[in-house]
């Protein structure tokens, strides 16, 4: 897959970071505003996909990217599971216990473990959507 023109590349360079930041914003404010891990994760994956499309397959080592994304995805899921398991050993000893202090309603750092779940779900969704995209691209590249 070849890259696109300089105009597209330059615009992407400017936009991709902003899109990524917006995705991160949605993830981090998941417990306060609409959105959360999944929605923000999809936006963040959009930034990666935009870069890959604009700069072409040659710019990135696609296979290596895919391996990295797979590892990130799995590790993020494992961390979510471990976070939920921690509840089994603390306080009321129940699975999925919200064991951190809740804080004040409306503050960024509040709602106990929920922001943490959001962040790791966001990472997981980002990498898995990116893997889906990469799998299609790699399939197409190998086909031609």
């Amino acid at each position: 897959m070849k890259g696109m023109t300089t105009i597209v590349k330059k615009t992407t360079q400017i936009l991709a970071g902003i899109i990524f930041l917006y995705g991160a914003y949605v993830v981090i404010h998941g417990h306060l505003t609409p959105g959360g891990g999944f929605a923000g994760g999809v936006i963040m994956a959009g930034a990666f996909i935009l870069v890959t499309l604009a700069f072409g397959g040659g710019f990135l080592n696609l296979k290596k990217e895919e391996t990295g994304s797979t590892a990130t995805e799995n590790i993020a899921v494992l961390i979510v599971i471990i976070l939920s398991l921690v509840g089994l050993f603390l306080g009321a000893k129940v699975f999925f216990l919200n064991f951190l202090p809740r804080g004040t309603v409306g503050e960024l750092v509040s709602a106990g473990v929920l922001p943490l779940y959001n962040i790791f779900v966001g990472i997981e969704v980002t990498s898995s959507i990116f893997i889906l995209f990469l799998a299609l691209v790699i399939f197409k590249e190998e086909d031609t």
């Binding site: 590790i75 494992l78 000893k93």
Partner: protein, 512 residues
């Protein structure tokens, strides 16, 4: 609260992702790791079975207690019925994982296979344990999507076609189920199964209620491959790698199909005679037509897959008879017998159908073909495969002293005592045709020498595969012990009680 309950879901789920991380680094790890994890699950679920007895254990995820006796959190429920399903899932899961150790050597990407197998088991455990409708749907999707990928694992033309067909039908089924759940939530304002029962008991609109029941029955009917919805099963079960066929036929259609149908129609909906008739009719239909479709097959795994439809028909039919009798309120002793027979046959089917698929896998592994016409005279070359498949064939056809005989006997006795003479006759007829088709399988695969025109490189398969087959063969024999009334009383009674006395059990859950 008992931490075992969530662990049965978390452990396979976490190991699926752990395998994907570690499998890249250590090559032989995934297979042994999966087997070890499933062994732990096996021990845990049998421990739970021994210690549960007649009790119902509820686990409230996140520690959300009920407010004014209205459940608000996610409930996981362990009772007599779900604990038996857990034991089935983990037994077959462990044996399939061990069998895969040598069977899957021919495939690439082993870590994906084992990760998907763990996901499949995690999803099924979740379906069996969850106490509310929406979580049943979520876990159902986890296991079903893993099974789509596993069916297509060979990535050849047939596998992909089968998987695609399965995905389309499975997708429609999931849509129907979700629609049904939405409609229930609209009226009942709750998703907890016990709470929905309370809401429906207070009063409901008849037409609306029947519509919802039909949606749910069709949706889970596809997953359980009851007759008009069976089209995906023969393709999907014959294309998957053999240990996966054993899992799919042995426990998957039971855990996500029949278990959920039993649970919802006995425990959640108020049993009505019409729906009980529909269920009995569907069960009879799949019992009779499944076997007629099976007898003409020459592909071993397709033959076995059609027999799964037929044998599941027995289970559905006897559960339906139980429902009819319960709704009439007469002869509760016969209803008890029918439901016991159905559950007993469900357990037996897991053992002998799992074993038959593993046998078919062994034949395919050695000969590279699934066509019965190309085999012959393998009894001397593969004695263990031949012996175990003989045991399984006799079990499924209902020959004493193997387990299939006793469960079919109980079903037939229940039919006769409940005055369903036609159904009793059909059950016996289907059993005879089953015997005919398995004699055909035995003769062409193991005894018929004349077809051995070409060089057959039959040799006994590797130790892990032999181990799984022998264990299942022994289980086929051992489970006939359940026919002894006192043993049956102590082992199956808790499960049957959950279905017979659903109202009481459900109000216990609400009270916890």
């Amino acid at each position: 609260m008992n931490p075992i309950i969530p662990m049965l879901v978390i452990v396979p789920l976490a190991s699926a992702f752990l395998i994907m991380v570690l499998g890249k680094l250590i090559r032989d790890l995934p297979g042994y790791f999966t087997s070890a994890v499933f062994l732990v699950l096996l021990i845990t679920s049998y421990y739970a079975w021994m210690h549960n007895g007649n009790g119902i254990t509820v686990y409230k995820v996140g520690g959300w207690e009920a407010v004014n006796k209205i459940p608000i959190g996610i409930y996981m429920v362990l009772d007599g019925l779900s604990v038996i399903m857990l034991c089935l899932i983990s037994t077959l899961g462990f044996l399939s994982a061990v069998y895969s150790l040598s069977y899957m050597k021919r495939y690439t990407g082993e870590e994906y296979y084992y990760a998907l197998l763990c996901l499949l088991v995690a999803g099924m455990n979740g379906v069996v344990l969850s106490g509310d409708l929406f979580n049943i749907f979520v876990f159902l999707e986890i296991s079903v999507i893993a099974s789509y990928a596993l069916v297509a694992f060979g990535v050849e033309k047939n596998e992909l076609e089968a998987s695609f067909k399965y995905q389309v039908l499975g997708g429609i089924a999931s849509l129907l189920i979700l629609f049904g759940i939405g409609l229930i939530y609209w009226k009942a304002k709750t998703l907890n199964i016990a709470d929905i029962r309370e809401a429906f008991k207070a009063g409901y609109d008849g037409t609306y209620y029947t519509f919802v029941q039909m949606l749910i029955l069709c949706g889970f009917g596809v997953k359980a491959a009851i007759m008009p919805f069976h089209a995906w099963l023969p393709d999907a079960h014959s294309s998957a790698p053999s240990p996966i066929s054993a899992m799919l036929s042995g426990v998957f259609i039971k855990a996500v199909g029949i278990y959920v149908i039993l649970r919802l129609f006995f425990s959640m909906f108020v049993i009505s005679e019409q729906i009980a008739f529909v269920i009995t009719a569907l069960g009879t239909l799949s019992m009779v037509f499944g076997v007629f479709l099976a007898i003409g097959q020459w592909d071993i795994k397709r033959l076995l897959a059609y027999h799964s439809i037929s044998q599941m028909g027995y289970v559905i039919m006897s559960a339906g008879i139980g429902m009819i009798l319960l709704s009439r309120g007469t002869r509760p002793d016969v209803a008890l017998l029918a439901i016991t027979g159905g559950l007993y046959h469900l357990i037996n089917h897991a053992a002998f159908k799992g074993l038959l698929f593993l046998n078919a896998g062994a034949l395919e592994y050695r000969l590279g073909t699934r066509d019965l016409k190309e085999m012959g005279g393998l009894a001397s070359e593969m004695p263990i495969t031949a012996g175990t498949s003989f045991v399984a064939s006799m079990s499924i056809s209902g020959i004493p002293p193997f387990n299939g005989f006793f469960s079919k006997l109980i079903i037939v006795i229940a039919c006769i005592r409940g005055r369903f003479y036609l159904l009793a006759f059909l059950a016996i007829l289907v059993s005879i045709i089953t015997l005919a088709s398995f004699l055909k399988f035995q003769r062409y695969a193991f005894y018929n020498k004349t077809n051995a025109g070409k060089d057959l490189t039959g040799k006994e398969v590797a130790t892990p595969m032999v181990f799984s087959m022998i264990v299942l063969g022994m289980l086929c024999l051992l489970m006939s012990l359940l026919a002894i009334p006192s043993v049956r009383e102590s082992l199956l009674k808790p499960a049957v009680d959950v279905l017979m006395d659903a109202g009481n059990c459900m109000s216990k859950i609400i009270g916890m």
